[in-house]
């Protein structure tokens, strides 16, 4: 319960963060731009023509709206997933260091609150912000296109949820980094480094043959095995958004690993936090 109160405080603080508000404003602006500039002619449930930015109406191959929109959803999912992770790491990097700031953490630790609750509350608070951002972007896009075509395809929202879950793994590492070094810059760097390393880890089997030494190849494969496969999940998110069938077993395994990584990172952070003097 105390962790929930801490999470509420994080949300209250988030409402005053300019960078975070700017991110939501940017998403809203993009949705409004799409809403105002895109016109679609739908005839009997099939997309017949598209008009963008007031240009001349362009006829398209007539097909069911949900099928016609799949490439668009795939592209949007790419931007939401990777853009969300990138900007998410930047705008949330300051929350944990702010909690751990001298003069604030001493006071919080004197309150009847367990140390683990403080950290978990911060983690939950930031994840709520991230989930709202991903769902706002994905849900907003579904809504805009739904209003224009009459077809409300929820798959993009599920893809957004995958983005939020992946961010949970990244933020686990960012939070733990903040506990160790109490720096927003270091926390953001950890998030972005893991983001990039996670993309590399997704292509580990394609990359590893380029190592000439067996030892180096094995080290690379062993190290990348523990990293969250960001690009793999991104690809799955795009497939889901485009209503392409995905291997549910592979999806469960990948997301299970992602959750495990996040939990391990937070556990490491809590372990360290419990032993720290301030």
């Amino acid at each position: 319960m105390t962790a929930w109160y801490v999470a509420l405080d994080v949300l209250r603080e988030a409402a005053s963060r300019r960078w975070l508000l700017a991110l939501f404003a940017l998403i809203a602006a993009l949705l409004i731009t799409v809403g105002l500039s895109l016109e679609m002619r739908v005839v009997d449930g099939a997309l017949a023509a598209v008009k963008l930015f007031g240009q001349e109406e362009r006829e398209v191959t007539v097909q069911a709206v949900d099928v016609a929109l799949r490439p668009l959803f795939r592209g949007v999912s790419f931007f939401i997933f990777f853009g969300g992770l990138f900007f998410g790491a930047l705008v949330t990097a300051d929350f944990a260091p702010s909690l751990l700031a001298p003069g604030r953490i001493e006071h919080l630790l004197s309150l009847p609150v367990r140390r683990a609750s403080l950290l978990l509350g911060t983690y939950v608070g930031v994840l709520i912000i991230a989930a709202v951002a991903f769902l706002f972007a994905a849900g907003g896009f579904v809504l805009v296109l739904g209003v224009k075509t009459g077809a409300y395809v929820a798959d993009l929202v599920y893809a957004g949820l995958l983005g939020a879950l992946t961010f949970a793994a990244l933020y686990g590492a960012m939070l733990t980094c903040a506990v160790f070094v109490r720096s927003a810059a270091a926390s953001a760097f950890a998030g972005l480094l893991l983001f990039a390393a996670g993309i590399v880890a997704s292509f580990r089997y394609e990359i590893s043959p380029s190592f000439s030494s067996d030892f180096a190849r094995q080290v690379f494969e062993w190290v990348t095995m523990f990293l969250p496969p960001v690009a793999t999940v991104g690809q799955l998110a795009m497939d889901i958004a485009a209503s392409t069938p995905v291997d549910s077993g592979a999806l469960a395994r990948t997301m299970g690993g992602m959750v495990l990584f996040g939990v391990a990172m937070v556990a490491l952070g809590v372990w360290r936090f419990e032993r720290m003097d301030f």
């Binding site: 801490v6 006071h107 004197s110 003097d277």
Partner: protein
Amino acid sequence: MDAALEAKGIEKIFKNRRALAGVDLVVPRGTCFGLIGVNGAGKTTFIKTMLGIVRPSAGSIRVLGGAPEDIDVRRRIGYLPERLALPPAWSATTYLTSIARLKRLPRPREEIDRLLVCVGLASARDVKTRAFSKGMKQRLGLAAALLGRPELLVLDEPTDGVDPLGRAEVRELLREEQARGTTVFLNSHLLSETERICDRIGILHAGAVLRDGPIEALAAQSTRWIVRFAEPIDVEGFTSNGDGNYHVEAEDPAALDEALARARGAGGLIVALRRDVPDLESILRGEVGG
């Protein structure tokens, strides 16, 4: 003696630096205790140790009969840190509401309103803390410490940045708390403030308590008296400090009476006599040197 704080052999070593070197201290409940010492003596480290913010390297500490890490113990403590950092976008009311929630106080609204009046921030209740002066931040921190009517108030430099009138208000507030039965543990570099507020003090130096006890007891150990005569005198044992007063050393009343008799025998007319009670600054200087 029912103690609010019992510390036995508390040591704290940070990497290569020994911040506390075996602190032994007992603070009785209901007292107003002032911890004094020079910079780097270990005062703030000791305060953090008694709150569980810093874990001791050796020794044991009990606060309000329990361990500092115990949630139920901490529920009964109010703390104002030395440099309180407030969320800049929050108002005073928002901040206190957050603290009240973390302290699990039922229906805190009335208490928050009362405390904002007590610390003189009623008119600034909705002002964002980024616009607060240092003194206003201290007042808000004090209100946060007082939330929930704690049994032990631990205040690290509570009047730092507070104007003279505000200091008087803080003193009055602390007297009220003490009258309610609250134990006050104060760390202030303003020795005159400590002297006016506290009834017991402890002198911390190089990480250890040199002396502690009631202020009167520490001060009363002086054997020096100040005598004022109607006319200047020249008597052995009496030294003038140039302002018309004379100092004389006397171990006990008999020695004092003998010295005064000598002065009277030499024609001195005594118009005033008082013990040369040292102030905290003198006591501190006497203990730690410098």
